[in-house]
Symmetry: D3
Subunit: 317 residues, 6 copies
C-alpha cells in the first residue's frame, strides 16, 4: 500500500507569481496528522526589543518561497520523494499578551508533536523557541541544540521580564530542555552589557562560537565537529536570521554588524544532515525592513534546506 | 434546509497578520460550484505597456485584504449573511504568450460561470477584461458596462498588436459583448495621440466622462443617472485602479495625473447597488510601485464593496 | 519679573537637518516643572492589531518636526511668545507587557499633570489614550473629547483582551473619564463586525460622525457646532493619524480607505482654538510604512497646531 | 517652404520603457537655435535648506515623461503641430559653489534666449529662478509672475546668505525683474518666523493667495481673474512642486502640509493659456523622497501642460 | 589620418548627476557604423518567470553608469584611447509578443554586426541571449561561451513554451551557436526539478561550475584555466546579474541565495581579457527590486569591465 | 576624588526605540570641557559630486546607534569604564557656502580640541576631514593617517574647485597636516581619469592599498604592519563608508563596486587599538539611499569601535 506524497505546485502548472501563498505552494493541511514534517507559522513580534515587524514574517516567507523547486541542486536532497509534508498554517497567538502567547504556543505544539511530525517553524520573534522547546522536551526529552544567532538570548530578564526575545534559551535551560554539552551557539557578536552575556552559556558547558571565529572561511569543518559531538541525540535547530550580516539579511530588527554570510548559513544547515533533527525554526524576519524581499527569500530557502537535512530524505547526488 | 455560509476568518480567532492569504481570509474553494459569488485572481502583466508588476497584484491584494471585516459600516451591507462566497484561486495563464493567455482566461471563466456564480476578479493587467467579457456574453448576452479608468482602452491596436492592455474594450465591442447605449466610461484623462481616443466610444453611443468633469464633487448624482439609464440590464463593472489619482493609488503602471479620489471611487461602486451586476474586476495594481501597500488596501476594499453591491445582499442600515 | 521662554532652535542658527532631535528642536527638559505645555513621547506598538511599527513614531515625528518654525502663518498663532514649552522625553513603557505599560503611563502622567502643564503626546499606538485619560480625570475630572479616527476604538475587548488599541475609549468611559454628551468622534468608517461598532457610542450620547459625512467639504462649520456644544468644559483632543485617508497618511497600521484629508484635519485642530484644551495626542504613526517620512511631517505639524490652539496663545493675525 | 517639426518618439515605434531619456522622448538639440520652445535641466540642490536630492530632478522628470503622448485630451492642445520643440540638455552648474552657479545659469539663459525661444526648465532647487529671471529681464524687460509655491521665497537672506532657495523672488525684485502689480503667489502656507514672510510681497503690491483660500474648490475662477489682471504683459510661470500637498507630491524637500491638489495645479497651468508666457520652470522635485516616481510624473505632465499653454499652440477641441 | 575617439562626458565638464542618460554619458549614435564597440539596450521582461521589471533595466543601468570614469584603476585598461565606442540606443521589441521580439532582436543584431562592431548589451531578461547568439553565429560561426548565472537556462521549455528566460542556451545549442567543449557555466545553484538541470549541459561537454565550488575564494585561477581551454576561439560572455548573491545584487527577479560576490564577478570579467571576445551582455537587472540603485551600478561597471577586456584595449598599468 | 562617568542610557531603563536621539543615547554636553572623547556631527552634503543626502548622516547615525551597549563583546573593550564621553551636538555649517563651512569647521574644532578631547565625527561628506585636520595639526602637529576609502580624495580640484569631497587629503597635504611616510590609504578602487589618481599619493611616500589586494582575506595582518610603521606618532583615522562594498553599505553617494566587507572594516578599526589615536571620523553615510537603515547601523558601530580603540580604554577580555 502506498501513499501519495504532497508536492509543491510546479511552475509549469501555475506561474510562480500565482497560486496559493502556502510554504513552497504546498497543500494546506488542517492538522499535522499523517505528516512526516510540517511548516507552520508563528506571527509574533511583541517579544522584540528594538525594531518590530516580525509578526509579518510568516506571511512574507511563504510569499517568497514561491520559487523554490522540489530538488536541492547542491545536496541532491529530494525531500518530497520520501516525506509527507504540508503547511499547517499559523498559531493563533494573543498579540496583546506575550505571556499568554507563550502558553498558546506550547499547547499548540503539544498537539502538533502528538502526531510524530517534525515541525519547521516560520517566525516570528525568537521568544517563540522557548515554548516550542518546552513541547519538544515533553515528546523527546532534553535535546541537543544548534543555535545560530548574533545574540546568545540567555538574558535572565529584559526590563525585568523573563519572557522576551532575549531570554528563550535561559528559560529553556531552566526548564531542562537542553543537553548542556551538546549546545552550540554560532555567530555571536556585537556589543553587550558585559562579557557575561556569552560566558554564561560557556559555564553551562555550551560551545559558544563568536562570529569573528567564522570570518573568511568555510564552516563545513565546524559542522563536522558538531555532528561528531552530538552523535545520535535528538537535535533542535534554531536559526535566527540576524546571525547573518545585515548585508545578506537586512530585514530584521536587532541588527549586529560583522555577521555570517548566507553561504556559511547554508553550510551550517546542510551540515546538519545526518543528525537526528526533531524540529527547527527560522526566526526574526521583519518584512518592513526588507525592501526587496530577499531576506524572506533566504528564510524560505533555509527552511527548505532544513527540510532537506531531515532524517530519511533521499539524496540523489 | 439551510446551508452554512462561509465567513471571513475573524480577528478574534486569528490575528489579522496571520492566517491564510486568501481574499478576506475566506475559505479557499476548488471550484465555483455551490457559490453565489467568488473571488479569483489573474496574475498577469505581459499586456502592460509602461511599468510592469501587475502579475503580483492578486497576491498583494489578498494579503492586504486581511483587515476587512464582514460588515460594511457605510452602507450596512452584510454580504456574508446571504451569499456563499469563497476564493477560488488563480487562473493559470501562460506568462510567455499573451494571446494564449487570453484564451485560457475565457475557457476558465466559461467553467466558472457555468455554476451561476458572480466572479469578482483580482487583476492583473487590463487585457484580462476582454476574455472575461467573452465568457460573460456567452452566459448573459451583451451587458451594460461601467468602466472606471484613466484610459479608454479602446485602441485598435498597440505596436500592431490587437491584444494588449490598451485594447480590451475595442475587442469586446467587436465581439458584441456590450450594449452600446449602456456603456459608461468614468475618469478618462491624460495625453493621447488624438481626440479620437475618447471620441471613438462616443461614436458608438458610449458615455465617456472625463476626469475633469468629476473634480471637486460627489459622484453620487452621476451614479443615480447611470443606474436609471442601465435599468435592469446585466452589468459588468471593470475598475482600473489607475482611474484614481496617483496620490491615492501610486501602485500602478500607466500613471495619469489629475484623477479620481478614493472617495469618488467608493461612491461609484456603492452607487452600483441596485443594479444587476453579473461580474466585476479590479485591475492594474502593481505592487512594486506601492511601497506602503496601500494601493492594494484600496483594491481589496473596492472588491469588498463590489461584493456588498451585488444583488441579494441585505443592508442593515 | 519676567521669565525667558524657550524657543525652537532657528534655521539661521543651525541648519534644519542638524541640531537636536527634540520636538521642533526645542530644549529638552527633565520634568514638566515650570512648563505651560510639553511634548512627550510614548514609544509603543504592542497594542496594535494589524501592522506594527508605531513604537518608532515618537522618534520619527521629532525628526520630521525639524522644519517647523515658531509662527503659524494660517492662524497667526505665536505660541512661543506666551507659553513655556519643552520636550520632556519619552515614557519608559515595558514593551514586553501591555498591561504594565498602561499603568506606567498613568503614573507618569500623574506626575506630569501635577505641574499644571498641558501634555501633548507623540504616539505610539492608541492604547495609550486610556491611561492618559485616567490621569487627566484625576486632575480635571471628566472631560469633553474630540476623537478623530477611522475607528471608534470602543470595543469591549479584542481577542479577549480589554487592553488593546481598539478599546481605549470603552475603558475611559467605564472609568468615568468622559462627559458623554460632549464626546465627538470624527472620521469613522470602514468595515466592522456589526453596526454596533459605531452605535455603541451613540447610545452613550456621543456624536459619531462618519467619514462619508465629511467628504468634499470644509469641516470648519462642524467645528463651530462642536465648540458651541462643548462650551468651557475641559477638552481632550485625541488625533489618530489613520483618520486621514491613506493617500495623505500612508504611514500607519490599520488603514481604512476613504478618509479625511489633511486639510480637514487642519480645520479640525484649528477649530479647537477657543476651547479649554487640557491635553492632546497624535497617535498611530508607523514609520516603516512611511517611506518618504511625510506622515510624520503631518503628525509633527498637527502637534504644532494643537499647541497653537491652546488657551493663552496670542494670535497676531 | 515648410519645416519638419520634432515629434516625441511614439509608443508604437519604441516601447515606452525604452528609447532616449530626453523630455517626452523628444530629439536632443545642441542649442536652442531654430526652436520655438525648449526643455532644459538645471541639476542643482545646493540651495536647499532641508532635504536635498533635487540635483537628480531633471534626470527623473525626463525618465518619467516617457509616457506622455503629444495631444492634450483635456484641453485639445496639440503643441507639436505648431511649435518646434527639443530638449537641449542640462546647464553645467558648479555644484561646489552656489554663487558661481547662479552666474553660470544667467549666462546660459542669455544664450538660450538669444534664439527667441521659450525655455521650460526642469529643476533643480528654486534658487535657479532668480538667475533665469535676470536673463529674462534682459530679453523681455520686467515680467508678470505666476508663482505657485508653499513658500513665498522672499527671504532677505538665509543663514546670512542672499543666494539660497528661500530668496529668489526677493533678489529678482531687487533686480527689477518683476512687474509688481502683476505678481501672483498661490499656495502659500505653513509655519514661519513672522507674518512678515507673506506680507512683504503684499507690501510690494503682489497678490499672495494662501493655500487655505484654495481648499475644497476649483481654481479656474481665480485664473480667470489673474489673466484679466495680467493682460498681455510677458509672464513667467514658476511652479514649485511643494505647492502641492505632500499626498500628491511626496518627492520634495521642504514639505508643508495642507497644500494644493494636483487637480488645482492643472487648473492653474491650463489657466495660463491665453497669456503671453515667455518662460516657465518646475522646481524642487527630489527623487530620493519619491519612492514610486509619481512626483516626477506630475512634474513631467505639468511641464507638458506649460508647453500646451504657450502662445501659438492650436487647440483641436 | 587619425580619427577622433568618443569620450565619456567628464565630471569636470558637467556634474555627474546631469548630462545625457546614455551609457557612461557617451555620445549617442544612430547606427553602429564606424564603431569598434557599442552599448545597446533591450528593454524586455516578458520572458521572465517570477518577478518582472527588467524592461526598465537598460534605462536604470544607463542612469547609474554616470559616475564611471574612462580609466580602469584596477587593470589599467583605457578603452577610449583605442576604441571608437558609442551608445546606439534600444532595440524596439514588441512587448506584447515574446516570439516576435526574438526575431526583432536577431534582425537588429544582424544589422549591428554587419558593421564589424562588438555589441555589449544592456538587458532585459535572459531570453535575449538566444536571438543575439543566432546573429553572432551568422557573423562568427559557433562561439565559445562564458555564461555566469544562478541558472543553467537550458530548459527544453517552460509552461510548454520554448521561448522564455529559462531556455536561451538550449535554443542556442539547437541552433549550433556554441562550441560545446568551450562552454563554461559559472555560479549555478538553488533548487530545481531534478539534477538533470545542470547535467544536461555536462552531457553536451559543457563545464558547469556550481556556486558552492566558488565560495570563499578567488576565481582568478579558474579564469586562467578557462582562457587556456578557449584559446583564440571567438567568445561570447553572457552575464546574468542573478549569478551574484542577492546581498550584492538585490535587484533581480529570480533570486537564488548563496551566490557569487561582486569581487568574484569582477575577477571573471577581468579574467576574460586576452580572449577573443565578440560580444557580451548583462541581463536580468530589475529596477523595482533595487531600492538604492546599486544593482544597476554593478551592472554598469560590469559592462565597463567587459569593454576594458575587449581585444585591442591598451593597459597602462 | 572620583568623577562619575557618563553611561549610555540602558535598554532596561528605557526601551531601545525610545529615549534621546544622541549617539548611543549618551548625555548631550554643551561643550567638550571635561571630556576625554566626544561624538559630534557635521551635517553636510554640499561637497558631494554624485548623489547627495549626507547632510542627514549625523541624524540617522545617532538614531541607529540606539542599540549599541557599552561593552565590546569581541575585543573586551569597556570604554565607559575609563573615559568621560558625551555627544556635543552638531557643527552649524553654512549649507549655502562650502568654503565658509570649511572655515566654520576648523574654528569649531579649534575650540573642541582646546579641551584636550579626542573628537569622533559623524559626517557629512568627506570635505570635512580637511578642516578637521587643520585644527588637529595646530594641536598635535602633523599626524599619521589611516584613510579607508574607495577613493584617494587627492584631486587637485574638481570642476575647478579646490574644496570638494574629492580633495581633502590633497589640501591637508598642502597644509602640512600629514606625516607622509605614515599615511595609509586602504580600499582604493573603481574607475578614474588616469593612474595618477592613486599614484600621486604613492609619490609622496604614502602607502596606497587597492581593494583588490584586500579581497578574500583578513586584514588583521595588514593592521599589524601599519601599527609597526606608525609607532607612537599621533594618528587620525578617517573612515569613508564607501570603502565598503555597496552590498554592505548601500547608503552612500559615490558608489564603487568590489569593496571591503564590514568584517574587514571591523578588523581595520580594531587593529588601530594600541595606536595613539587623536581623532577619527566616519563620513559619507547618505540616508536616502539606505532604505533599511543598516548603513547607519554600521556607521554607528564603527564609531563605537573607534571609541573602543582609543588610548586608555580597558579591555576585559
Amino acid at each position: 500500500m502506498t501513499r501519495t506524497l504532497n508536492q509543491p505546485l510546479g511552475g509549469n502548472t501555475m506561474p510562480r507569481f500565482g497560486g496559493p501563498n502556502t510554504m513552497m505552494r504546498l497543500p494546506m493541511a488542517d492538522s499535522a496528522a499523517g505528516l512526516d514534517a510540517c511548516f507552520l507559522g508563528i506571527p509574533m513580534d511583541i517579544g522584540t526589543s528594538n525594531r518590530s515587524g516580525t509578526r509579518l514574517g510568516p506571511r512574507q516567507i511563504r510569499d517568497e518561497s514561491r520559487m523554490i523547486r522540489p530538488y536541492n541542486m547542491a545536496t541532491g536532497a529530494a525531500p518530497f520523494e520520501a516525506l509527507q509534508v504540508a503547511d499547517i498554517g499559523d498559531v493563533p497567538i494573543n498579540t496583546f499578551d506575550l505571556k499568554k502567547s507563550v502558553d498558546i504556543i506550547t499547547t499548540h505544539y503539544d498537539e502538533v508533536l502528538s502526531h510524530g511530525v517534525i515541525p519547521l517553524t516560520l517566525g516570528g520573534d525568537h521568544t517563540l523557541t522557548w515554548p516550542i522547546l518546552r513541547a519538544i522536551r515533553k515528546r523527546h526529552g532534553p535535546v541537543a541544540l544548534i543555535h545560530v544567532d548574533a545574540h546568545s538570548d540567555t538574558n535572565e530578564d529584559m526590563f525585568g521580564e523573563t519572557v522576551a526575545h532575549g531570554c528563550p534559551f535561559r528559560r529553556a535551560w531552566e526548564d531542562g530542555c537542553l543537553i548542556n554539552d551538546k549546545v552550540f551557539q554560532i555567530g555571536l557578536r556585537g556589543s553587550g552589557y558585559s562579557r557575561e552575556e556569552f560566558d554564561w552559556g560557556r559555564r553551562q558547558g555550551w560551545t559558544c562560537i563568536q562570529a569573528e571565529e567564522c570570518w573568511h572561511k568555510s564552516l563545513t569543518p565546524l559542522m563536522q565537529e558538531i555532528r561528531a559531538k552530538i552523535g545520535d541525540a535528538p537535535v533542535y535547530l534554531s536559526y535566527d536570521i540576524d546571525s547573518l550580516d545585515p548585508a545578506f539579511a537586512p530585514g530584521t530588527g536587532t541588527v549586529e554588524v560583522g555577521g555570517l554570510t548566507t553561504m556559511q548559513g547554508l553550510e551550517i544547515i546542510r551540515g546538519c544532515a545526518g543528525l537526528n533533527l526533531v524540529g527547527g525554526d527560522l526566526v526574526e524576519v521583519s518584512p518592513p525592513y526588507d525592501p526587496a524581499g530577499n531576506t524572506a527569500v533566504i528564510a524560505a530557502n533555509f527552511l527548505f534546506e532544513m527540510l532537506c537535512a531531515l532524517p530519511g530524505v533521499p539524496r540523489g547526488r
